[in-house]
Assembly symmetry: C2
Homo-oligomer: 325 residues x 2
């Protein structure tokens, strides 16, 4: 299968039409028309086989996820997605793989009206690089740096499902997880293979949140970025971390806490805001069907501390995922 | 070396300041301010070790080249470069490698006032993905699709040095190339390891060229894209293909022609224009110190034919480089 046929396979499955695409796939560059009065937001994430996804992953889910994790970065800034680029590195020209991959990618792209405008296909070890671009009205994008002492800390959805899903995918026949409820296992596996970027929630939070980040490395690690960029400390109350019914069916006690606090791959939004805005935040997130939990507070100082109900610090063995750490 | 230290190593070496970067490296997205009255041009190219560059390549040159091949795509559209993203996939956290890589990348970025605004670092087999973004006044970007029968075909600089350089890098001790003049070998090796994107030439050609592409796959293959997108045929006169003195010192006759016509990695601009504009084109390219040669003509029909001085077609064994072909 020549490279150009693979490009056509992808192009035909990612046809979101947008007036602001002057020239899409097929030239040296895409030509795009940025929205007047808006800032352009750009992000990229690469997924490598064996590092970010398991070997022999389902290609449809991989296509979905590669775009989802990138859209999650736009969500964290409160941006409206517009355009994507896709760089596929493939060990061989497998048309069935590319077709399924493009179907998954295209499905999520269509849901959010994202136009695939370019990219490249190269041969090499399987890896997927995606770039997303979007817009926010000038000056409204949410940053990591705006948290202030006195703010409350919130997270959308539930935490820990991503790591639990990964463990279920990897569970061997004899393990405890392999014997857990099939419903619970499927629920968390769905969360890690087909995560939902919280784009509507991010847009709602513009003008309400003081700082925002998506939870990709684990809530404590991610809030660590907010604390560092904002020059503040953050206290997280362990008992307030939201858990899904599936997670509760799979884990209890300290083990559950470790998965919730240290697990990555959740793609929720963690944000800070003045407690005075809480009623409005809850109401406006409910309007986009997004659950939210208050999980802590911003304090003077630095670093992120996980606290029990008595205010004593809980020290976890793993505080999140870092390359080469 | 933690990931964040590697990011800081890169950031500190790529500090081109631009007023249109509202927020650079360090948040979920970069925030950028597109130029009013301009279209945004975006392109990406990924380089994989063993596919696009030799194992154990010099990291400084790799950093330079990874940006250069992407800027070449902006050059082909006549765009002004502005911002870049860098996705590095590394087998291990090698600070010396990353430092040299970032020095090479940053040097070329500084020459063209390109700001590195984001990216990611992941572990995996060595690969470099770069995204570049730039601007052209609305409606002026050069495309592959504008060639018309009667236009002349031109190319900047010389052809074949890229492939000759690659062969010199790979030449074993006993081979003919290994015994060629050191000066000639160094000249072509410099062309493949440190190519020069023709950005000034591309800008000059706005409003003059009817179609344009950069020569990355080989002149015949690249003109094939122009022919296909423009719905025309192209005839290339073999004896008119420009060769550097170094190439002439390394190859003669049919062997030289095969390298010039079939070799990729040159990063010149191939373009079409009305012959009436030739004087102005030559004058304006000379003003930016860019050589140009007329190499053929656009005809009715389809495909690209390489012709000898008698008008007979020359059929080459290799017409350029294609993944998975």
């Amino acid at each position: 299968v020549p490279e150009f046929d693979l490009i056509e396979l992808i192009r035909s499955r990612c046809l979101a039409l947008r007036d602001d695409v002057v020239l899409g796939i097929g030239d040296d560059c895409a030509i795009l028309e940025p929205a007047p009065g808006h800032e352009l937001l750009v992000s990229t994430d690469t997924l490598v086989e064996g590092v970010h996804f398991l070997p022999d992953s389902d290609p449809w889910a991989l296509g979905w996820k590669a775009l989802a994790v990138n859209l999650s970065d736009l969500a964290a800034m409160g941006a409206e997605p517009a355009w994507a680029l896709l760089s596929l590195t493939l060990p061989c020209a497998d048309a069935a793989f590319v077709t399924a991959f493009a179907d998954g990618f295209g499905r999520l792209a269509a849901e959010h009206r994202v136009a695939l405008v370019g990219g490249d296909i190269t041969s090499g070890p399987l890896a997927v690089g995606v770039v997303v671009q979007g817009f926010a009205p000038r000056g409204t994008a949410l940053r990591r740096s705006g948290a202030r002492a006195g703010d409350a800390v919130y997270v959308t959805g539930t935490l820990g499902d991503g790591l639990a899903g990964l463990r279920c995918l990897q569970a061997t026949a004899g393990s405890a997880l392999a014997h857990a409820s099939a419903e619970a296992r499927e629920a968390v596996i769905g969360r890690v293979t087909r995560p939902t970027p919280q784009l509507a929630a991010g847009r709602v939070l513009r003008g309400l949140a003081s700082a925002c980040i998506d939870t990709s490395d684990g809530i404590l690690a991610d809030l660590g970025h907010v604390a560092r960029r904002s020059g503040v400390g953050i206290e997280v109350l362990a008992s307030s971390l939201p858990a899904s019914p599936a997670l509760c069916a799979l884990y209890a006690g300290d083990e559950r806490l470790a998965v919730q606090a240290g697990g990555g791959d959740d793609y929720q939004l963690a944000f800070t805001a003045s407690p005075e805005r809480e009623t409005e935040i809850v109401r406006r997130l409910a309007a986009v069907e997004c659950a939210v939990a208050r999980i802590g507070r911003v304090v003077e100082g630095r670093g992120v501390r996980l606290l029990d109900d008595g205010g004593a610090e809980i020290v976890l063995e793993h505080r999140g995922w870092e390359h080469f750490a």
